[in-house]
Assembly symmetry: C2
Homo-oligomer: 431 residues x 2
């Protein structure tokens, strides 16, 4: 009976697992040095957690099911609702600002395509309880701190920054009614992915031709001043504040030394409904790939989940697009360590297998990565096995063992030395 | 809107996450030093993967659902079927024996109770393609290598070892018909968990009183010889072989230096249907807890999944019972590192916040775990924050900064030194 894997999922053989571990270890290391602490939640939650606030795109992509008590559950498509629930549960006990990160496995029931699978790992960093733009800048810095360390330069990627507050203020000023905002965010977020004529026609239909022109002009603005110029009225205090925040953020990013990675780009909207302030995405310069990551401020989410009105800002980065980009840029292959052993223990005759078993067990207990050959064999076969397993040393248990000695062969240099097994085991590192 | 977590799942706040990471890092380290390589599969597979060969207990516990194409899927309740699928897919390309480990998150739709949740992490090690009992012994050694390193002694735990082959040969010899075997394994596996009278009544009903007496005698045998004594016939070659294997295994475990952890115990059956040879469980000495882990040989599983007839043996250990035991023995609390920073950067006035932002960004980029205070404040407040975050050093940016200096305070000793910020940033470790 042969059963295939489900389309859009991945099997991680040791080679692929090494890449996944390398990426995730990098995320963890950079999170910790930026002062974030790790958390995680369950892989499934009540379905309602995702239908409340995430927006239509997420709801369509849920893997939902029932438990034996007929309750509706869903595999998590993202971890932000879990984060909101967890923080709300202990809101008074947690010191603010809360700086947490996580690397959840998340699942989305969508059509698999390049860089988009039904199951992936997503690095999340969040700062909760800090209103200052400094927190948004810190989230962006931590993101770039990782990408830069992975080897990506301002010639490879750009952080495109805009503001949901700016967009909302703009839509209000040109006279779009509030109840259209959420579905407009979803549409505008898809601009780059939709054929131009489909986008134009849909936008026209939603807001009429005059507003469509203004929205298009907004999305292609290159500076805050050009946003202001689209409007023929006085600028509202809300819009003014949004521009101030963006400028403040740019100053902070400059102080942090990553100004050359960042640009203002009001075409960045983000699909999720819950964003309220600065939003950003990181894209590869060529624009061939989907966004590498995205994030922003979501000041109402904790309140929406039954908690206090407390501000929050964060970022999520999946492993799929990132891996494609790193591979294309040649930044993966040389860095991933494969299997390696400190010692491969080789009995050259059946009668010596017992000794190989004993010696290997002692080496492992002392912390050395060790293996032995299940089948005693001649020396050349043994050395081949040691080499295949990338062993630093081959311990040969042969004729010398009659007088209590082993032969230690350095697999890199080919040098051999004979040593009493007792002395060797007392301090293997000395030999 | 307040939504609770699903019963039987866990929220990992940073404190709980640190414990989970400590356990999992230990599993990984011991796996690698014993020569295993890491793999993983998808969190869900086609439902059929689990209904074929795992046995009734697993099937009842599945979280199953449909995708948009109406295909039946299930969240993995164990990773062994995925392992069989993955190995079969590349059977010719993989060097034998295959020694792999994994730490999958797995889910089971059961009633949550002490040490048994609906979602947990399970360390798996498997050796595929090696018939020798040496492979079974190596799996047991690796298991004990971890438990011993975690601090558990032969006074805390015992590895109870038996053989499905021995049990099957015994059942055959006393004349139980083959089609009853699988449901008997499930029943016998539950002996310790069921009330004695319920177990006796059920067993009587299944096999009749005479066979029930023989089976009870088998399960309480303390040596292979006493198993033989229950039978009034000659020993079958199959039973003879099973006894030889158990004796061989005991010799190997002695050579490996863990004989004092291991005992023969034919009451160990294992619930899953696919075991074929040596089986084992690790229990705490008091018997208060469920099994800490279990495993054994499953020589037919790869063939059952459409692959070649290739032998396999492995072990699975969940994190829940293990954590309870380690906590009870006092082996957890002191070992788990909490949040710590290398540097906490403290501006003592609003005008100095910019400098704190710059210095922190540079320290992070150089790999130092660093944070700054969002809100400039007086020195005593800053030192309190640095201490709360468990910082090694507090970098005070105060009046001295006018002449380009920072003050570096060692939080452990209280010692302070003044240093030019430029020199410090060139080589922070020197100060």
């Amino acid at each position: 009976m042969k059963i295939p894997p489900v389309k859009g999922t991945r099997d991680f053989y040791p080679e692929e697992m090494a890449v996944r571990n390398w990426i995730i270890d990098g995320w963890k290391k950079v999170s910790i040095r930026n002062g974030f602490e790790e958390y995680d939640g369950p892989i499934f939650e009540y379905l309602q957690m995702y239908t409340i606030k995430s927006g239509d795109e997420i709801v369509e992509q849920l893997f939902s099911f029932k438990d034996r008590g007929d309750r509706d559950l869903a595999i998590r498509p993202e971890i932000t609702p879990t984060l909101a629930r967890m923080v709300n549960q202990r809101i008074n006990a947690l010191a603010k600002p809360i700086k947490w990160f996580s690397v959840p496995r998340v699942c989305r029931a969508e059509r698999p395509q390049r860089g988009r699978l039904r199951e992936f790992f997503q690095w999340n960093i969040d700062i909760i309880g800090e209103d200052s733009v400094l927190a948004d800048a810190e989230v962006i810095f931590t993101t770039v701190d990782y990408l830069r360390e992975a080897g990506l330069t301002p010639k490879d990627i750009k952080v495109k920054i805009s503001s949901r507050k700016l967009l909302a203020a703009f839509l209000r000023e040109i006279g779009i009614s509030e109840e259209k905002f959420n579905s407009l965010y979803t549409l505008l977020d898809k601009k780059a992915k939709l054929p131009a004529e489909v986008f134009s026609a849909t936008l026209n239909e939603r807001v009429g031709p005059e507003h469509a022109i203004q929205i298009n002009a907004f999305m292609s603005s290159q500076t805050a001043t050009s946003v202001e110029n689209i409007l023929h009225t006085d600028i509202s205090p809300e819009l003014d504040l949004a521009i101030d925040e963006l400028e403040d953020c740019a100053v902070r990013l400059g102080q942090m030394g990553i100004g050359d990675y960042c640009i203002f780009d009001p075409s960045i909207v983000r699909g999720l409904a819950y964003y309220t302030g600065i939003v950003f995405e990181v894209h590869d310069i060529t624009g061939d790939l989907r966004a590498i990551c995205g994030g922003g401020r979501y000041d109402n989410l904790l309140r929406d989940f039954g908690g206090p009105a407390i501000s929050a800002t964060g970022m999520g980065m999946g492993d799929c697009v990132l891996e494609i980009l790193l591979r294309e840029k040649g930044l993966l292959d040389k860095k991933i360590p494969g299997k390696a052993l400190d010692y491969f223990v080789s009995p050259v005759a059946d009668t010596l297998l017992n000794e190989a078993v004993k010696i290997t067990a002692q080496l492992r207990t002392r912390g050395f990565r060790s293996a032995f050959s299940y089948k005693p064999a001649g020396l050349s076969k043994q050395l081949k096995l040691a080499s295949e397993q990338n062993a630093k040393f081959c311990i040969i248990i042969g004729d010398e063992f009659k007088s209590g000695n082993i032969v230690l062969k350095d697999m890199a240099t080919g040098q051999q030395k004979t040593a009493p097994v007792k002395d060797f085991l007392e301090n293997p590192a000395k030999f």
